[in-house]
């Protein structure tokens, strides 16, 4: 396209926090012309069934992601280190969200 008009809007990744959720959860992606439109589109596309109370929208090209090629050096070394999990403690019943 000419005159600096792109033929496709940038991609955004959308995160929604539910009424009972404690953290924002990735729900999908969408196209929008700018940040404000991304929020409106996210509201229309991902909260229309009463799912959310808060939305984050992030330009997909701003996300730094690990590569599948690095999977083994990054994650495999943690595979056999069971002592890193706090499974040797007794968690009291009234401690929530554990």
């Amino acid at each position: 396209m000419t005159d600096g008009v792109r033929d496709e809007w940038p991609l955004y990744e959308i995160f929604v926090r539910g009424k009972r959720g404690l953290n924002h959860v990735h729900v999908g992606s969408l196209h929008a012309a700018d940040d404000e439109m991304a929020l409106l589109h996210a509201r229309d596309v991902y909260t229309r069934r009463n799912e959310g109370v808060s939305i984050w929208a992030v330009r997909a090209d701003l996300i730094v992601a690990s590569s599948p090629d690095e999977k083994d050096p990054l994650f495999a070394p943690a595979g056999d280190k069971v002592y890193r999990h706090p499974t040797f403690y007794v968690i009291p019943d009234d401690v929530p969200h554990m």
Binding site: V5, G21, H31, A33, M37, L40, D44, R48, E51
Partner: protein, 311 residues
Amino acid sequence: MSHVHDHDADHRSVYDGLLGGDDSRWAFGTDFEDPLAGVDTTIADDVDAAALAQYCLMLGDDALIYSHRLSQWASNAPDLEEDIALSNIALDLLGQARLLLARAAAADASLVPVLPAGSPVPAEDALAFFRDESAFRNVRFVELDIGDFAVTIARLLIFSTYRLALMQGLAASRDPVLSAIAVKGTKELTYHRDYAARWFLTLARGTDESRRRLLVALALVWPLYDELFRTHSIEQTAAHQGVGVDPASVHDEVDVLLGRVFSVSGVERPDVPATGAVNQGMGRDGRHTEAMGRLLAEMQVVARAHPSGRW
């Protein structure tokens, strides 16, 4: 008990099945609200029930007919995201229409078309699908053809600004049902207006082509703008009784708000003559444009073919 077939139980269980009994899973939505929960539905003795019913028809028909026009965008909008946005708006208005037509039927049952004995069609559906064109009380502004995206945005901006002003006044209605519908509608229409205003500005300040189309669109819908604020005798009665809002009373507010959007968009009010009356009547009198008959034919054909159908 579990062997007895119970329609209500089936209906309630729809979401239970999705959630698998675990209410903490929020992905499918929770806590759906009945907008009329706890609302007193009796009609006060000193309220003219027939006028209340006609007034509800007017507001209900505006929402119903415009909802149909917006729903014509489903699967046709420029983007998937806009497709869903316009469908959401159409569904908001359809919800308002349903509550308003049900209120009209409750206030004056003689308005409801008579269907074959035993027909399960509820009163609000009978009003929507079995009335003829001349019985519809919507303003002509909402029945114009769908047009292009610019027409949709220009019309949605004007309609949602107008209806939001009406609903804000209606929240103080003496009729508790109208008041509850207005409170619900106010939140919905605030979003519709915001959505339309952003797009209006975007199209006006976008490319030469988007601006050209928007100006054409505004000139196309503007001739029916004045009719929105013409007070019908029913609206006057409803306003006097404290149940309704006189549309003329919101004209200045709507005009100022639209003026602000036009101003930041660099757009002038179109200089085009208003569409006149037909046989001394306008939309509120049941006099409609050519587009209305085609709209109703499409909207009503399936329901009319099956007057005893269960949906």
